[in-house]
Amino acid sequence: MEQHNAHGHESHESHGSMKSYVIGFLLSIVLTIIPLVLVMNDMLSKKATTAIILVMAVLQFAVQLIFFMHLREEQKPRYNLMALIFGLVILLTIVAGSIWIMTYNAIG
């Protein structure tokens, strides 16, 4: 029955290949190790370390989305992309809003 294929678990959307999973896995490990090594060995100044941790975090986020969440392979309508954009807006609101509100409430 057609309906089953439309929403049953039998529908086989592409779920990525072994190769892309391995690349994603390796990338995510490397991106985790870099900040760990930097911090454990006190290699850079505090500011530089913070900056690198942030950059690695953003890259990690991208790796997860591309290799594990299959953001590129999505068919239309692109609900995942919409959800991602909305999520980023909320994230920005949480971070920027908190900083703005808490500026006036710092203790000490």
Partner: protein, 656 residues
């Protein structure tokens, strides 16, 4: 040995309060009674196979509703106890500590364990039927969501007889909720109860977004969905983005309490204000999460009982979606008095006023739907009509509160208490009652007694105004929330007594509702066909209660209010659509894993509360085993053969 047991028991159980002792005895007795009844009638197997392991959205919905009504009872008793104390504070009916516990549990239970599950119950029962689907997108996850909610709620509730209730307010502001302010176990029960049920809520949110986007009947466009489905979509999107904030915030509080971190402490670089900021980022969207589906219910009811298409469908959709978006930008209005400065307060005052606009749009849409309609005043319609003025007044007082300078006067006074009870009772509770009465015949296949329902309606409504109108005045007279006593010369007593009378009227109304249900079961009369109210949407096109697979043939949708259009077409002499041949129906198999896994979470949570390492490890190991078991089970679905569908359909339609 005996002394040791005694010592342990006195620490384990809450002792020393006659009210709680009474509750402990009655809980023990009812547990014994339940176990005896199940054993005597040999119903254990039935309970397990038909209910506890069920992945059927209709049964899960009914279990949600039963749980939420039990919680409504408990939260309501809490409310009445508080009102007794406030009517005559000199009697010292409740000790101050006990009073603190009761207002805390009242708030948590009513929002998280009454409103949320009642809402999820209605989602479960109605959404798949309205969009012409056979179940939700992830039936297993759905069952897991329910049991996570249930055991989270149980973990929270058990605190009042074991270990001690939380007493730091329903949102547990630090530093009071930190280890320094609340050294007891109550706060840990609070954290774990809400965390565990919160996972369930988040999963339900995701489940219904996917269900609505992916599982609509062939032909049903987004802009042809019933308005309730739209409201569920907007509410679930809000859940998806708001609940993670709650989880993270409570987790940070847990780290503070359990591992001695300093996120929200006063020393060590922490800041309690940050908790208030974070918790309201969830808390404000949360109130829209519970009210949006109520708006959807009102839209369905108004259109069905005015015999008219909903006025302004598109503007309604736009209003719902913009509310769920803007709800993320108003949180600071809960703490205007925190001292964030004029710019912050001005910004959030403006967003708060803005969000009132789409709500106003909806009120006009409902009024115009009723305008020149053939209105039938059934109980669901009466709740809807009573909701409109109540919610408008409640909303207006909200706009008053949103004026930041004036809020310095109103903040945390009884004016605020009256405001949010008016929008939550007048909006959410009235809405869910309307939904419950409207869809009751669809859930159970019989109608509720209308006369008793009308008694309950009037007692609720009159009781509501008698209870909460005096509280606006009390707030302006200076009475603040969470006080358990006041001096006679404050002049607050007369109004407090009136308010208490109103609360008991609502208590009476609840008894009328229980009576109504009992009466209707006793004089059970089966619904002759599935279309109890001459409805407009797809759920009324199938028998009541719906068969396991909902739709023997999936409907082909061509219109908004498709069932109504089809009935009109046939009444005008059109030929009924030819029936497509039946085909085997693909269904999910029941599973015991959600129940067992939630028991394991409960065990782990209980272990964390008491800091019993062996219990934590056992619980979490159980969770891991359940996850593995599910990952490796491939036998999760089956087909209902055609002849079985034919037999079921013949039996169902044969009673026509």
């Amino acid at each position: 040995m005996l002394d040791k047991i005694k010592e342990f028991a006195s620490e384990f159980f809450v002792t020393g309060d006659p009210l709680i002792l009474g509750a402990q005895v009655s809980i023990a007795l009812s547990l014994v009674a339940i176990i005896f009844t199940l054993t005597f009638f040999k119903k254990w197997k039935w309970l397990w196979t038909e209910w506890l392991t069920s992945v059927d959205h209709k049964k899960i919905g009914i279990m949600y509703i039963i749980a939420s009504i039990l919680m409504l009872f408990r939260g309501g008793v809490d409310a009445l106890l508080m009102r007794v104390q406030l009517a005559a504070p000199e009697l010292e009916f409740l000790h101050p500590e006990h009073y603190n516990q009761i207002f805390t549990t009242h708030g948590v239970i009513m929002i998280l364990f009454m409103a949320m599950p009642l809402m999820f119950g209605l989602f479960n029962i109605v959404v798949p039927l309205q969009i012409g689907a056979r179940d939700v997108a992830f039936p297993f996850l759905n069952s897991l969501s329910f049991w996570m909610f249930f055991f989270g709620a149980m973990l929270f509730n058990v605190s009042f007889i074991i270990g001690g209730s939380p007493d730091a307010g329903w949102l547990a502001y630090p530093p009071l909720s930190e280890l320094s302010g609340s050294p007891g176990l109550g706060q840990d029960f609070y954290i774990w109860g809400i965390q565990i049920s919160g996972i369930g809520s988040l999963a339900t949110g995701i489940n219904f977004v996917v269900t609505i986007l992916k599982m609509r009947a062939p032909g049903m466009k987004l802009m042809q969905m019933p308005m309730f489905v739209w409201s569920v979509l907007s509410s679930c999107i809000t859940i998806m983005f708001a609940f993670p904030i709650l989880t993270v915030t409570l987790f940070l509080l847990f780290l503070d309490r359990y591992l001695g971190a300093h996120f929200f402490t006063l020393d060590g670089g922490g800041n309690p204000m940050m908790y208030i900021n974070l918790i309201w980022m969830w808390g404000h969207p949360e109130v829209y999460i519970v009210i949006l589906p109520a708006f959807g219910i009102f839209s369905e009811v108004v259109s069905a009982f005015s015999k008219k298409k909903l006025f302004g469908y598109k503007s309604m959709v736009f209003a719902l979606m913009s509310i769920s978006f803007f709800s993320f930008f108003t949180w600071a209005h809960h703490f205007f008095t925190m001292g964030s400065g004029a710019n912050v307060n001005a910004f959030f005052a403006l967003t708060t006023m803005l969000i009132a606009i789409p709500t106003g749009v909806k009120v006009f849409n409902w009024l115009f739907t009723m305008y020149r309609g053939r209105i039938k005043f059934t109980t669901p319609m009466m709740w809807t009509v009573a909701f409109i003025p109540c919610f408008v007044v409640g909303g207006m007082t909200g706009v008053l509160l949103s004026v930041a300078p004036a809020d310095f006067q109103f903040h945390n006074s009884y004016f605020l208490i009256a405001h949010f009870h008016q929008v939550l009772i007048g909006g959410v509770v009235f809405g869910y009652f309307a939904g419950l009465y409207y869809w009751w015949p669809k859930m159970f296949g019989f109608r509720l007694h209308e006369g008793l329902g009308k008694w309950a309606f009037w007692f609720w409504n009159i009781g509501f105004y008698v209870c909460f109108m005096p509280q606006y005045a009390l707030g302006l007279m200076g009475m603040t929330r969470r006080v358990n006593e006041y001096d006679f010369d404050m002049g607050w007593q007369p109004l407090n007594v009136i308010s208490t009378v109103g609360a008991f009227l609502m208590g009476l109304a609840f008894i009328f509702q229980v009576w109504q249900i009992a009466h209707s079961i006793k004089f059970y009369k089966k619904e002759k066909d599935g279309d109890a109210w001459d409805g407009r949407t797809l759920e009324w096109s199938i028998p009541s209660p719906a068969p396991l697979y909902n739709f023997a043939r999936l409907p082909q949708v061509t219109h908004q209010d498709d069932w109504w259009e089809e009935k009109q077409r046939i009444a005008a002499g059109g030929a009924p659509k030819p029936l497509a041949p039946l085909e085997p129906i693909h269904m999910p198999k029941n599973s015991g894993i959600p129940f067992i896994m939630s028991v394991c979470w409960f065990t782990a949570g209980f272990g964390f509360v008491w800091d019993w390492k062996w219990m934590i490890v056992t619980g979490l190991a159980g969770v891991a085993v359940c996850m593995l078991a599910r990952s490796f089970s491939y036998d999760t679905d089956y087909y209902i053969p055609v002849d079985e569908i034919e037999r079921t359909e013949a039996a169902l339609r044969g009673t026509k």
